[in-house]
């Protein structure tokens, strides 16, 4: 914020002759009002006078800086008068004041202190002060300030000159769930840009689709693009621009560094290579990270099917329970209404596994990979083998993972091989050759592995279903704890994917334990900020209430800012509470068929009163641990 941005010609008066402090204040306020940033003159004057009664704002050496932060101020601004003969402003050193600046600051923000600091730094220079006092006209007065400011703050003036309102850095943020991280990264990047004086625009590829979409003109005009994403984003549009590709968490943690890298030109120029999404991943991105990204792309596309299907099926059971249907094989389809929900939900469910595999394949090999993954995933659900094409034992979730990954990478191989084909065939490659070869390959592969994958799948299901109560409780504890370790990171996602996979093989109790584990951390933090205020900073307390909503909606990410500021105390507390809740949920045999939704799906939770109890106990445990571990703050 530069002085000359705040002070304009209308708000300056040279050679004023106020008789006393009151007159000086009135003149300055009139000038402020002329500047146009004051909404309510009287309210602002009240603020100025109130400030003067606390102590004088004449800091000595002929300088006075009356100031007020007030709601009556629309935007920060300055007014100035010179009084060559001096006016008695009750200065700290008893000397008359000759140079008076009045600051108007809105109630929010810390512009005020910066302006004050800058004015003081410049006014300490005797030479500068004398030049101002002898300025011939208002424009010269402004020019003296401008020149001195440029000399004292060279870096900044340069930045301001360069900032011609053009959007210089663009960003795309995306995370698999698309609820929290996507938006946190976008906000962090835009804020970091503001601090650096660089305009940043961030497109969010969240669960509701892309928002704040980058336009073609913006992409052309920008210096570079930051892709902070844990899933694939549309890259073709960035051909020929400087692009940094990184994790979404880097967008939250090191936004400043990313922006500075773009501005320094320290980012490779991106060349779009068409279909080969896997080959164009971030330089140095580990193989494991790539796999994770592809998997998450599949999971995020599968989730809507799981959520809607799961809730429909659960509703069917709920309806039949209310209708008093017999607990036999017709349960869930006994009444016509229940049958409707059960069947439709079941259809949605049947897309789950093919969609998962299809989008993994698409993430690896772009469009050609989609067919391969989708059909491969479908073959996993039918369990087709060479011996019995109609299918025997479905290979389920595991088979789908294999279909997606193997299909995607096979497809990449096929594309490479096809590079050697005559150019004249290029046109028919994507419409005929890729699909045909891909379909053949995935069919052979799935028929070959289905018997084995099926056995493993049945084995795992049997193992989980026959697990003794104790081991199930242990499993619940582990999964619950995992949800709270990194709140949206790989551990959390691993547990979560396991939970959704368990739904696919009807282990509904596992999903219940997973979800409760993810709900505990934000709720515990919200409780702690409500009941043990002295453990948290002002800001943390203010945002605490939001965490009730986050927690109840199963958005574990809400706890991240709290965990990030004090991980050693917050994360273990959350983990223990989440583990307790997960274990209890298992012990009470609570079930959940929807993999998301928090409190909004409690109506369809099996054994819900005890589920609520488990949640309450887990949250209380976490809260107590937080209270014990975190130190009291002295300023509260």
């Amino acid at each position: 914020m530069r002085i000359t941005d705040l002070l304009n010609v209308e708000s300056i008066k040279l050679n004023a002759t106020p008789k006393n402090k009151q007159e000086a204040i009135d003149e300055l306020i009139d000038l402020q009002v002329k500047g146009g940033k004051i909404a309510d003159r009287e309210a602002y004057k009240e603020g100025i006078l109130a400030r003067e009664t606390v102590s004088t704002t004449a800091v000595g050496e002929g300088i006075a800086i009356p100031h007020a932060k007030s709601d009556a101020v629309k935007a920060p601004s300055l007014a100035a008068i010179t009084v060559p003969n001096g006016v008695d402003y009750e200065a700290m050193d008893g000397e008359p004041s000759t140079l008076l600046f009045m600051i108007a600051a809105p109630n929010d923000g810390d512009v005020h202190l910066e302006v004050l600091s800058r004015l003081m730094t410049m006014l300490m220079d005797e030479d500068f002060k004398n030049k101002l006092l002898s300025a011939k006209d208002k424009n010269e007065f402004l020019k003296i300030i401008d020149d001195t400011e440029k000399a004292k703050y060279p870096d900044e003036t340069k930045a301001v000159v360069e900032n011609d309102g053009r959007i210089r850095v663009l960003a795309v943020t995306a995370c698999p769930t698309g609820i929290a991280h996507t938006y946190m990264a976008a906000e962090a990047l835009e804020n970091a840009g503001k601090k650096l004086g660089i305009t940043v625009k961030a497109e969010t590829n969240g669960s509701g689709g892309a928002k704040n979409v980058l336009t073609k003109e913006e992409i052309e005009a920008c210096d570079g693009i930051i892709i902070a994403a844990d899933k694939t984003v549309d890259m073709a549009r960035f051909d020929g621009k400087r692009v940094i590709r990184t994790k979404v968490s880097d967008g939250i943690k090191i936004p400043k560094e990313l922006i500075e890298r773009i501005e320094k030109g320290d980012a490779p120029v991106y060349h779009h290579t068409g279909a080969k999404a896997a080959d164009e991943s971030t330089e140095g991105e580990s193989f494991g990270r790539k796999l994770y990204k592809h998997l998450m792309n599949g999971v995020s596309n599968m989730l809507p099917f799981t959520v809607a299907g799961g809730i429909f099926i659960a509703l069917a059971f709920l309806i039949d329970t209310i209708a008093g249907a017999p607990q036999d094989s017709s349960f869930g389809t006994y009444t016509a209404l229940a049958a409707f929900f059960k069947n439709i939900g079941g259809y949605a469910f049947s897309f789950m596994i093919p969609v998962l595999a299809g989008y993994i394949g698409k993430s690896i090999a772009d469009r050609p990979g989609f067919l391969v993954g989708l059909v491969g995933g479908f073959l996993a659900t039918t369990g087709s083998t060479f011996a019995n094409l109609a299918g025997e034992v479905p290979s389920g979730f595991l088979g789908a993972l294999l279909a997606g990954f193997a299909g995607g990478y096979l497809m990449l191989g096929v594309e490479k091989l096809c590079d050697h084909m005559p150019k004249s065939l290029n046109g028919i490659k994507p419409v005929l050759i890729y699909p045909l070869v891909g379909l053949g390959m995935i069919a052979v592969l799935m028929c070959a592995v289905n018997p084995f994958m099926g056995m493993i799948n049945v084995g795992v299901s049997n193992f989980l279903n026959n697990m003794g109560n104790t081991s199930k409780i242990v499993l619940g504890c582990i999964l619950g704890g995992m949800m709270a370790i990194d709140m949206g990171g790989p551990f959390n996602k691993a547990a979560y994917v396991f939970g959704t996979a368990a739904i696919a093989s009807s282990g509904y109790d596992i999903m219940a334990a997973v979800m409760i584990g993810g709900m505990v951390p934000p709720i515990a933090i919200a409780l702690s900020t409500t009941f043990f205020k002295n453990r948290w900073t002002d800001e943390e307390r203010k945002n605490g209430a939001v965490n009730y909503i986050m927690g109840l909606s199963f958005i574990t990410e809400g706890a991240i800012p709290y965990a990030a500021s004090d991980p050693i105390r917050v994360i273990p507390s959350c983990m223990v509470g989440a583990a307790v809740a997960g274990g209890l949920s298992m012990a009470f045999k609570c079930t959940l068929m929807a993999p998301h939704g928090g409190i909004f799906v409690f109506a369809v939770v099996g054994n819900w009163p005890l589920y609520v109890l488990s949640l309450a106990i887990g949250s209380l445990v976490s809260m107590v641990m937080l209270t014990l571990l975190k130190k009291k703050r002295t300023d509260a």
Binding site: V54, S55, T57, V59, G60, E61, I63, I65, H67, M92, D110, H112, L113, E114, L116, S117, R118, M120, T121, L123, M124, D538, T634, D635
Partner: protein, 88 residues
């Protein structure tokens, strides 16, 4: 010479009023020279203008350097001002 590090705790930072309070305390001990170091800037603590020029915001680390008579007492007194948030 004694030094002490403190953190600015009050929300508004060291604006004019706190700067005036610090300068007033320092002037009560003319035999002791007090310097505040923050943001890489040095400020003579008897001059409120210099203190404000250092732009000490909330959370900012400030080193108090005292040199002269009663230096320990003076450093403690000024540190206490910072820690109390200047009663804001």
């Amino acid at each position: 010479m004694v030094t002490k590090k403190v953190t600015v705790v009050n929300e508004q930072g060291v604006h004019m009023r706190p700067a005036g309070i610090i300068a007033k305390v320092v002037k009560e001990h003319p035999e002791c020279e007090v310097t505040l170091i923050a943001n890489g800037k040095e400020a003579k603590a008897k001059a409120p203008m210099q203190i404000m020029a250092a732009c000490m915001k909330q959370g900012c680390e400030v080193e108090i350097v005292c040199n002269g008579a009663d230096e320990q007492a003076v450093v403690d007194e000024i540190a206490a001002l910072f820690e109390s948030g200047f009663d804001e």
